[in-house]
């Protein structure tokens, strides 16, 4: 490590976020810090930790499922593992890591100094370790964690076999409710920031797609989460205080819960998918060196998805005694989602077409994610078709489809985003060789893991089983091997993260020659991004090859960003503006 604090722009050093090589900077991550960039990295680091926890649970599950009988763990333990795997991956990995990207990217992308409500932002983050701890503690209470699945359908979830007040299910509901509170706080913040704090000249149709999708996704949070939280509170009352909202014996109906649950939890997939669509829309133009094809269509399609996502939830209940007219209606609305998502997919392909592709690790993850997403979209339409869903619903076909969405598309997008923006926020480049190894292992592992599941489901293997008939063995052996390979794939990734952070090559302000406000800032950006000198936006994003400036005085901003931090102290690294 050659760096000393002398080589840093003083503006950078004043920032509470990490500056590689600067003394004691890691301690900043364990404080109630209100800087969006610190909070973003806090979210991402903790979420990646929980990705490992969730992945470990998945590998134990796949160890159980590599043979037909239940022989590795007790079936009740298997049920707890799969419940917690789903809960951890959704509530402790995907939601938080995407909130992390919202925190890192939204302010610099729109030229804002920070989030609209920095303290609320920090509070929203600090709820995350709290409910994460509650969920982890639930492994160690008498009776173990929740074993009723991440849907927690009553009356199973309210059975409470040991009769204890504090039980795994109780803690699970508490954690999910806290996660909802945290997400609502985040949503208020992200929406307000994008609505109110854009740089001069940045109208809606000059806004980067990532910010469009962030608003579209966070609107779903604001509309849907109160319903889930209300449903969860009633479930808690049924479980702990003897009410009967969902108990037929007291005049309740278990179907009511399913409506509350899916009214939010289906759109929740779009809360996670939309920002990743944003990531794809940001990255394809950079690495194909072309403008985003049909930018306005892609932007507006985000809100088409938001609207439709709120009126499709009954497709999770086609075989729950739903009347025929309702099945037909929700089949139609669900299928319609193929239209706005189709617009996005075709636009990405058209963006690639006649481009000059740079196959960086980030681009590889985007391309892999796009191909997987097309596949997931097709199986999604199959699942929307009522008669087909009645056969494959609640089977491994759904598990395969869901993981093609949630891992093979969304997590691929998350990895792409990490490789793409890591240099911006740490000032270091990640190693491409390790990155490509990570991509190849992940692509092979995830295909091996999730593709054979479709076949098992078509043959009639129900999801959530701890044991199965021998005819499903082949698909399950392949899936298990894939799952273990995915575990191996994490090794080069973690190695890359840690070693690049510590001693990776210094990143310039704009290592990918990307167009966007965040690339007009030094890497890492100063505490308040552009501070008082916010650029005036002249044109829409993604102007590759169009020879038009993004902002007024672009050359000055580029020079200023490149001036610091420099690898060695040079006269140019002196800040242009006097210290206050």
């Amino acid at each position: 490590m050659s760096s000393t604090s002398a080589s840093f722009d003083p503006r950078v050093l004043r920032a509470p976020h990490p500056v590689p090589g600067a003394p004691d900077n890691w301690k900043r991550f364990f404080t109630f810090n209100t800087d969006a960039k610190v909070i973003g990295i806090q979210y991402i680091a903790l979420a990646l930790f929980f990705l490992l926890v969730g992945g470990l649970l998945a590998m134990i599950m796949r160890g159980e499922l590599i043979t037909p009988p239940a022989d590795l763990v007790d079936p009740s333990v298997y049920n707890g593992l799969y419940t917690m795997h789903g809960t951890v991956m959704l509530f402790l990995f995907l939601f938080p890591i995407l909130n992390g990207f919202n925190n890192l990217l939204i302010p610099p992308m729109i030229g804002a100094p920070d989030m609209a409500f920095p303290r609320l932002n920090a509070l929203a983050f600090w709820l995350f370790p709290l409910f994460g701890t509650i969920l982890m503690v639930s492994f160690f209470v008498p009776g173990g964690p929740s074993t009723s699945g991440w849907w927690a359908y009553p009356p199973l979830s309210t059975q409470n076999p040991l009769g204890l007040f504090v039980n795994g299910q109780f803690l699970w509901i508490l954690a999910v409710a806290l996660s909802g509170v945290s997400s609502i706080m985040g949503a208020v913040n992200f929406v307000t920031t994008i609505l109110r704090m854009r740089a001069p000249g940045m109208g809606w149709f000059r806004l980067p797609i990532f910010c469009w999708t962030a608003v579209a996704a966070q609107v779903i949070q604001l509309v849907g989460l109160p319903v889930l939280t209300g449903g969860a509170v009633m479930l808690l009352f049924d479980l702990s205080f003897g009410t009967s909202f969902y108990q037929p014996e007291g005049g309740g109906d278990p179907m009511l819960y399913q409506h509350f649950f899916w009214f939010y939890s289906h759109p929740a997939v779009y809360v996670m998918a939309l920002p990743v669509f944003g990531i794809f829309s940001e990255l394809f133009p950079v690495y194909a060196r072309k403008p985003l094809f049909g930018y306005e269509f892609v932007a507006v399609a985000s809100f088409g998805i938001t609207f439709l996502s709120l009126i499709v939830w009954v497709h999770h209940m086609f075989y729950s005694g739903t009347p025929q007219w309702m099945r037909n209606l929700f089949m139609a609305t669900t299928m319609l989602i193929a239209v706005p998502t189709g617009i996005k997919v075709f636009a990405w392909i058209a963006t690639l077409w006649r481009g000059r592709l740079r196959l960086t690790t980030a681009m590889l993850f985007c391309l892999g994610g796009l191909i997987n997403f097309i596949f997931a979209g097709i199986t999604g339409v199959m699942l929307a078709t009522v008669p087909v869903d009645i056969h494959v619903g609640n089977t491994y076909f759904v598990v395969g489809h869901f993981h093609y969405v949630i891992f093979n598309t969304l997590t691929f997008g998350v990895f792409a985003a990490i490789y793409h923006w890591f240099p911006k926020f740490t000032g270091r480049l990640m190693y491409e060789g390790l990155g490509k190894l990570h991509f190849v292992l992940t692509f092979v592992g995830s295909t091996l893991n999730f593709l054979p599941m479709h076949w098992a489901g078509l043959m009639g293997m129900p999801r959530r089983v701890a044991s199965y008939d021998p005819e499903f063995a082949l698909a399950n052996v392949l899936a298990s091997l894939g799952a273990f390979l995915l575990g191996v794939a994490m090794i080069p990734f973690l190695l890359n993260l840690v070693s690049s952070w510590a001693r990776g090559e210094r990143a310039s302000a704009n290592p990918w020659q990307a167009i966007g406000l965040e690339w007009l800032l030094p890497s890492p950006p100063p505490l308040e991004n552009f501070e008082e000198d916010v650029p005036t936006v002249l044109n829409g994003p993604y102007g590759y090859g169009l020879n038009r400036p993004l902002v007024a005085d672009e050359a000055r901003y580029i020079a200023r960003a490149n001036a610091s931090p420099a690898p060695t102290p040079t006269p140019a690294s002196t800040p242009r503006r006097p210290e206050p």
Partner: protein, 307 residues
């Protein structure tokens, strides 16, 4: 000119590949053993065809750019600065709309043909559910008429029990072939799912509701009936068989069954739970399994199923 040729050739190849995939569909599915199965499979095959065509088309375009449009190292040149094409964008908005409209129409058509779901009656709990289902009669006219039934399907944690109009009780479901049959689905504890993959049919069994359900088996044989909605610790073991027999075979079975004294059926969940207790009740909390149903014909652990 050459471009047009390439496009036509590509579309033809894509079409041929999609047809081949459609031909593979039967290999991915269990045998068709109910009147519903051919309809469901035809719809799935249609979607497989359209899906393959779109998937192969899109992936081919992506691969062409990846193979032929890679920038050499240190090449800083941009691609063609195309910002959009309104005609193309309208096309790829309308085309998916047409496809999903077609699929929705086909889906509704098949839904109407299958008409599996009868009425649903709300009850306050297990006792009332048993009384209501016992009093049920076969109803409906025309396509909805069921010459046989109602057979009561009683789901518990973790066993299946079937009660026939003749009073026979069994732990595996016997049905006469080619006769529409009416079922009354009852759960005595939590949600369960009545799922027979060879029938392509699935219906949740909901505590607090008695659900009338109709299906027509069309092929003799022994098929798996699985619990499809997660129901707790021994969910995976909660499976039994459907035995579809000729009308005479079914009558013979009913006669023989009625001669057998009711006895507790063999129950895999109970075996697993006893094993757990022997090993010191390790594992996470679960309710104990309900006592196995008293039936004339129990489960046969040795029987092998076709699908």
């Amino acid at each position: 000119m050459t471009t047009a040729l390439w496009i036509v050739l590509g579309l033809l190849l894509d079409g041929a590949l999609s047809r081949w995939m459609v031909a593979q569909v039967p290999h991915w599915l269990p045998v068709q053993a109910s009147a519903a199965a051919p309809h469901v499979d035809a719809l799935f095959a249609l979607e497989t065809g359209i899906g393959t065509f779109l998937f192969v088309g899109c992936v081919t375009l992506i691969l062409i750019t990846v193979l032929f449009r890679r920038a050499p190292k240190y090449d800083m040149v941009n691609g063609d600065p195309i910002e959009g094409n309104l005609k193309l964008e309208i096309t790829w908005t309308l085309l998916p709309l047409l496809i999903v409209a077609l699929l929705t129409w086909q889906g509704i058509r098949v839904n109407t043909t299958l008409a599996t779901l009868g009425g649903k009656q709300r009850v306050s709990g297990g006792t009332e559910a048993m009384a209501v289902s016992a009093a049920a009669t076969t109803t409906g006219t025309g396509a909805l008429a069921a010459p046989y039934g109602p057979v009561r399907v009683i789901a518990r944690q973790w066993s299946w029990e079937f009660v026939y109009p003749e009073g026979v009780r069994s732990a595996e479901l016997h049905l006469p072939v080619d006769q529409p049959v009416q079922l009354e689905l009852v759960s005595l504890d939590v949600l369960h799912g009545f799922y027979v993959p060879a029938f392509r049919l699935k219906q949740d069994v909901i505590p607090g509701s008695v659900i009338a359900y109709r299906l027509t088996p069309t092929r003799e044989g022994r098929y798996r009936l699985r619990d499809s909605l997660f129901s707790g610790a021994y969910f995976a073991s909660n499976q039994t068989d459907v035995v579809v027999e000729s009308a005479e075979g079914f009558q013979t079975w009913l006669r023989e069954a009625s001669k057998q004294a009711p006895h507790p059926s063999w129950n895999p969940a109970r075996e697993l739970h006893e094993r757990r207790l022997r090993r010191g009740d390790q594992g996470w909390a679960t309710v104990p399994p309900a006592p196995p149903p008293l039936v004339n014909v129990g489960l046969d652990p040795q029987a092998s199923h076709e699908a």
